[in-house]
Symmetry: C2
Subunit: 350 residues, 2 copies
């Protein structure tokens, strides 16, 4: 499997006979195209057009962040977490990437007829625990049931509301040439844990999802570096998709050093077996930060001072050259283009 | 099919071997039980415990309503609307029932691999139109794709944020004996339109969904009757489920007059053929209002002054007797208990 994904040679979906592909949900090229072709033209408004992970709204003087995510991960339970914890943490993280303090979540369930109630109870208990640990309240909800075979067990939507403190202004638009690019720890853990949990692969070892709520880490960063330009949690499509997303949104290039991102040994091994690049594998408890160059060391120290950021490192630099592209500087000093993930490397990862 | 639904004689789901039934998504007894047994104990907090259609939050002085809904209606397109319009209007209505002015929506899609992109485009265009007509903006979103057979075509989640004007205080808790119960027009239209659109039933005639955004109607009502106690949109389980929900939440009884609610002729005919009670059939563009008795005529006039409330009528009265129960006073003057819908009359109605 190349980093282009199985649909690397598909024609672009432009005729009305075209259909939804798994890759449209991958966070890669196909996802960007769906956004550009279908959603943005229809729902055009200045807030959505920012393409941040959350909408930032002004409501009677309050600065409110608002976000939504659907979760279809399979299996429902995996080493290090489950769909419930993932849904709570994931929505918290989308709020946190806007600098917001997460406050309230909604939860919507789509259940397949025949799902054991015990499974639902476990997922709900996990959401309760994750919400409690992160200090957010689940304040409204909805449940729908569909017949057997019309859904795969259980899907969750979580939407969230947070408060953006005064002075905080995080957005892809603020990223500029010269910015340092940081990552808050090892990459690829979540994606490879999901792969391992799908028994058919027979992978073993201590692969564990890194799912975690990142708002505390963001607060630690903003305390020392309030002028941070942008934050992203590199979920679907991994750090690779995130860097491309920022490069396109901000009209800049990104250059990273080969091997700069920490990769845990079992993740590296599993990636090698499967021919995957850890840069393109999903994370659920890491962030990528874009900070002004002079503040890079301070920001790193801030991240490392938090339990979730101990292994933070510098990944690279934002450039004025090659806008929209991501380059990897190899150990020998040459540069190669990092291909954006095209379709689906790992379906239903979140 | 009795008004108890096909699971009328099922044992109560209390052991851990029990499974999710279609009826758990019906808005009836099974839904209430799932809420009471699984969700409320886990997510307990004072906001959720109010059991209103929306959470009312105080955020830095702003009074914010927040709500979420998943949509799994089948077919995706039906006379009078489609899943996109339904999702936008439905979430607007949940906000409006709290007296909120709807402002911002999120949208989350779960798509089945192989869905024609043209179907997605039509749904998105419909959401755009419905949002524009109602004056709300879709500001954030998410898309997931699952493999063929893991979902039925397309599911939507819409979550919404609105502003609650000062002085407005709508909640089931405020309903009290003596309150008049009003309904804003004919009942059962949405449910029977969906039934007719499922070809296998071979129903014909001009059955049309009543899907509509109700915030304008609510404003018209509150302008003349700011002391309205509670509002509900009688969706799943119809007016029947709504009256039971309020009766239980407020610890009151409700008594309605037989035949008081307007039922359009094709709806009445289709209900007779199928043995359904229009009181238990879903609406998507009607509201039920609980207002102080002395203001009942004023409130009715307010509702009738709006295009969506022309056929508003008084349905009955809230009583101190028989708390938690709904009684129907027959034309002959006797009273009978209206059975709460138990399971699923019409699966995947919204």
């Amino acid at each position: 499997m190349s980093s282009e994904g199985p649909f690397g040679s598909c024609p672009a979906p432009v005729t009305e006979r075209d259909v939804v592909l798994l890759g449209h949900g991958s966070g890669g090229v196909l996802t960007s195209r769906l956004l550009a072709d279908v959603f943005l033209p229809a729902f055009s408004n200045p807030i959505l057009a920012r393409l941040d992970d959350q909408a930032c709204l002004e409501l009677e003087g309050a600065r409110i962040a608002f976000t939504t995510d659907c979760y279809v991960v399979t299996p429902l339970f995996f080493p290090g977490g489950d769909i419930g914890r993932l849904a709570v943490n994931g929505t918290i993280n989308d709020l946190a990437m806007g600098g917001a303090r997460p406050r309230y979540l909604s939860v919507g369930f789509i259940l397949e007829e025949g799902l054991p109630l015990e499974v639902l109870r476990r997922v709900v208990a996990s959401m309760r625990d994750a919400a409690f640990e992160a200090g957010v309240s689940i304040v409204t909800g909805d449940t729908k049931v569909v017949g057997r075979g019309s859904a795969d067990k259980l899907f969750v939507n979580t939407s969230g509301i947070g408060l953006v403190p005064e002075g905080v202004e995080l957005s892809a638009r603020r990223v500029q040439p010269g910015d340092a690019v940081l990552v808050s720890g090892s990459i690829g853990d979540h994606g490879m844990a999901i792969m391992a949990a799908r028994e058919s692969l027979g992978l073993e070892g201590d692969l564990q999802s890194d799912t975690a709520p990142l708002h505390g880490l963001v607060e630690a960063l903003l305390a020392v570096c309030p002028d941070t330009h942008a934050l992203r949690d590199p979920t679907r499509g991994g750090v690779n998709a995130t860097l491309h997303e920022i490069a396109v949104a901000a009209g800049v290039g990104v250059e990273i050093a080969e091997g700069a991102a920490p990769v845990r040994e079992p993740v590296r091994g599993a990636c090698e077996i499967l021919g995957l690049d850890p840069l393109s594998v999903a994370n659920e408890g890491k962030l990528v930060a874009f900070v002004p160059e002079p503040l890079a060391e301070l920001a790193l120290a801030g991240l490392r001072g938090h339990p979730l950021g101990l292994e933070s490192v510098r990944l690279g630099t934002v450039t004025a050259e090659h806008p929209g592209r991501v380059l990897v500087r190899t150990i020998l000093g040459s540069r190669r283009v990092l291909e954006q993930p095209y379709g689906e490397l790992l379906p239903r990862i979140c």
